[in-house]
Symmetry: D2
Subunit: 110 residues, 4 copies
């Protein structure tokens, strides 16, 4: 990769690094929103797999090697989510802000 990943310090930089990564591998023609949404939920499933037989308490105190695997899966979900938002021209943080405003109305704090 030409991009210096050390410079990936925010979602926009991550998006740009992912664009370059896909372009360098000619993966763009696979990256329809439909396909990226599928890839994202597949990674979500791999993340869920780590927790399926754990008690809620166990899930909160993972051993280090398991946590490292979970970290990789969390990253995969984020990567596909950023790529999906990119092809749809959605600003992820803007979307999250707007959703939180809706949630604040839907679920008022007591």
């Amino acid at each position: 990769m030409k991009a210096d990943l050390g410079e990936v310090e925010n979602l926009v930089a991550l998006r740009d690094a992912l664009r370059e990564f896909s372009r360098a591998r000619d993966w763009h023609h696979y990256h329809s929103p439909k396909n990226l949404a599928m890839a994202m939920i597949v990674e979500a499933g791999e993340l869920v797999e780590h927790f399926q037989w754990l008690t809620p308490e166990q899930s909160a105190s993972l051993p280090p090697e398991k946590l490292a695997e979970v970290k990789d899966e969390v990253a995969d979900v984020l990567i596909y989510l950023v790529e999906l938002a990119d092809v749809l021209n959605i600003d992820l943080l803007c979307a999250a802000r707007e959703k939180m405003q809706k949630n604040a109305i839907k679920y008022p704090a007591s």
Copy 2:
């Protein structure tokens, strides 16, 4: 919400706003990693639903009202992913950088 959502300009600020949101509603005791991983994949499913009967081409040219719905679902996945990473003490951008470095080795550009 006390937090000014206009200030949510990066993932750390989003995490902080979500912490405050959950604390104000006393939702913390529901937020085990196990439960948050489930909530995340449920939202991922709602996102996938928008694309299930579309051709790849149709998925890339959503009408505005559909795109607005997809934006909300994308936000929901991000929100739960940030909350999950938070309770696991995972730095999302760090995780993404490390995963991209592994991917660069696994899938070398031609």
Copy 3:
């Protein structure tokens, strides 16, 4: 529906009823394996949603109205799974038998 659903007493009869249901609505051209797999996981997500904030114990003693909703979601997953297996010419029970034989070797009983 022409088919008498009361006669749907096994998976083959369910498959046949679903074939007729789709044919009568001209839905066949949507039913690629790719699309049906997506529809199936979307329904799986709706099923998971019912359990996401429950303790394992609560999930085992659902109130009747919640159980009725869960029953509908379980049915939706089965329906899409049967339709997916059908378009792939997979015999579901045969597949399950073969998988259980592999599992019996992989996980020997103590």
Copy 4:
């Protein structure tokens, strides 16, 4: 396994074989509805993975070795779905019939 899997010719026999399989391995205490729903969607994700980069047309003409893998994943989803229905005392075929009756009203044939 004591059970002769060759006799697993319907969903009830599959349920019984799975009960015996879990009992012989002392897995019952893991099998809350919450956990089984998670396991089911994880397998659903593994199934979706096979289709994520394929065109709809490609998904309908899988090479034999790929189809064999898909068959295993389809079986895994069915297995967890049967186990989930079992712990919830849901009759799968009854649930499917009732759902198809609702669908016939919701989506009348033209």
